[in-house]
């Protein structure tokens, strides 16, 4: 029988000694960050505590979740911000993104690529190519109070030449939110 997202969260939390995570509020969560200055290479989520909405939705805690909050990353998407203000964005167009996902001191996704239109076997968004990758297996857990970031490099999907561009990234999946079960 396949392991569920909740099962994996509890398994990892138990391994890390996070015994109270099982009592927290289950939720669905997406966190995003964007680099609105065109460049070949980007580091996303790092330093996001210094940026306000709509540049990121991480708030003052930045690139680490607070106590008893966690995110099981099940899908990663990339987008291209329209302007420096970060209000609007589009898909990848002709670009693809090579990226690493780093949690703590550990690279948990290495030299992976979100190819534009690369997930068409199980994904349809009208006539537009996908700009996401659904993680195989159950997903990867970002535990509470551990820094995470994404290194991303943008290139043309057909010519395989580096391209200077703005870029944004979201991490989507099953989450736990802090829930005080006792009176405080």
């Amino acid at each position: 029988m396949a392991i569920s997202a909740q099962d994996k969260m509890l398994y990892v939390a138990n391994k890390l000694g996070l015994t109270s995570l099982k009592d927290m509020q289950g939720s669905t969560r997406v966190v995003y960050d964007q680099s609105t200055t065109a460049a070949l290479d980007h580091v996303l989520f790092a330093g996001s505590g210094q940026r306000n909405f709509p540049l990121t939705n991480l708030g003052a805690n930045g690139n680490q979740f607070q106590v008893d909050e966690a995110l099981l990353v099940e899908q990663i998407g990339f987008f291209i911000p329209d302007a420096d203000d970060g209000e609007n964005y589009g898909g990848l167009g002709v670009l693809s993104v090579k990226f690493d996902l780093v949690i703590g001191n550990k690279t948990v996704i290495k030299d992976c690529v979100v190819e534009v239109g690369g997930q068409q076997a199980f994904y349809s968004d009208g006539t537009v190519g996908s700009a996401i990758i659904t993680l195989e297996g159950v997903g990867i857990l970002i535990p509470p109070q551990v820094e995470f970031y994404v290194r991303a490099s943008v290139f043309n999907s057909t010519t395989r030449v580096a391209s200077s561009s703005r870029v944004g990234c979201y991490l989507f999946g099953t989450a736990a939110l802090l829930n005080f079960n006792t009176t405080i």
Partner: protein
């Protein structure tokens, strides 16, 4: 793995709420006119003067024998006269049940329009700049008689006064069933 039915039964039982009742699919919605320049909208807070198509509730809690699971979120936008706002820009949606934040800083805009960044693996391709739906991965319960509300922060403002936003919550639910009592 728990499904919507067992999750609702589990939470209702934990709270001492009745687990009997007519099983159903429940959809609740609220429309708000935030006014010109509005960027922060609160849903399920004010119900006075709204038509049956703007909201199907009269208070921000379910009846004593009613409960539901939030599984899908629907947002619709009427940009108003000469308004330019749409749902394709970043937004922060928070849903509160009781004092508990059950959906935190969620950005539904990734499911708006066809950009290839939607959450759903088999995206319908119909979500557009004025209507979108997000299917949640988890089952979130609204128990009986517990206040709930939702807040939506927009990256762009509403620009014109007659902009209307609607938030709908859909999922498995229970409604009052008289049974054999009367």
């Amino acid at each position: 793995m728990a499904n919507q039915v067992s999750k609702l039964n589990y939470v209702d039982a934990k709270l001492g709420a009745p687990t009997s009742g007519q099983q159903t699919t429940r959809y609740i919605y609220d429309s708000v006119l935030p006014g010109a320049g509005g960027t922060n909208i609160t849903f399920f807070q004010n119900f006075a003067g709204k038509s049956q198509f703007q909201t199907n509730l009269t208070t921000n809690k379910l009846d004593s024998m009613e409960s539901m699971v939030i599984k899908s979120i629907y947002i619709a936008l009427a940009p108003g006269t000469a308004g330019t706002l749409d749902l394709s820009g970043h937004m922060n949606l928070n849903i509160y049940v009781g004092n508990q934040c059950v959906l935190k800083d969620f950005d539904p805009s990734f499911n708006a329009t066809n950009r290839g960044v939607s959450f759903d693996r088999l995206h319908s391709g119909y979500n557009n700049a004025v209507r979108l739906e997000v299917r949640l991965l988890t089952d979130i319960v609204i128990p009986p008689q517990v206040n709930f509300k939702a807040t939506l922060e927009l990256a762009e403002n509403t620009a014109v006064g007659d902009t209307s936003l609607t938030l709908g919550l859909k999922g498995y639910g229970k409604i009052f069933s008289a049974g054999m009592s009367f």
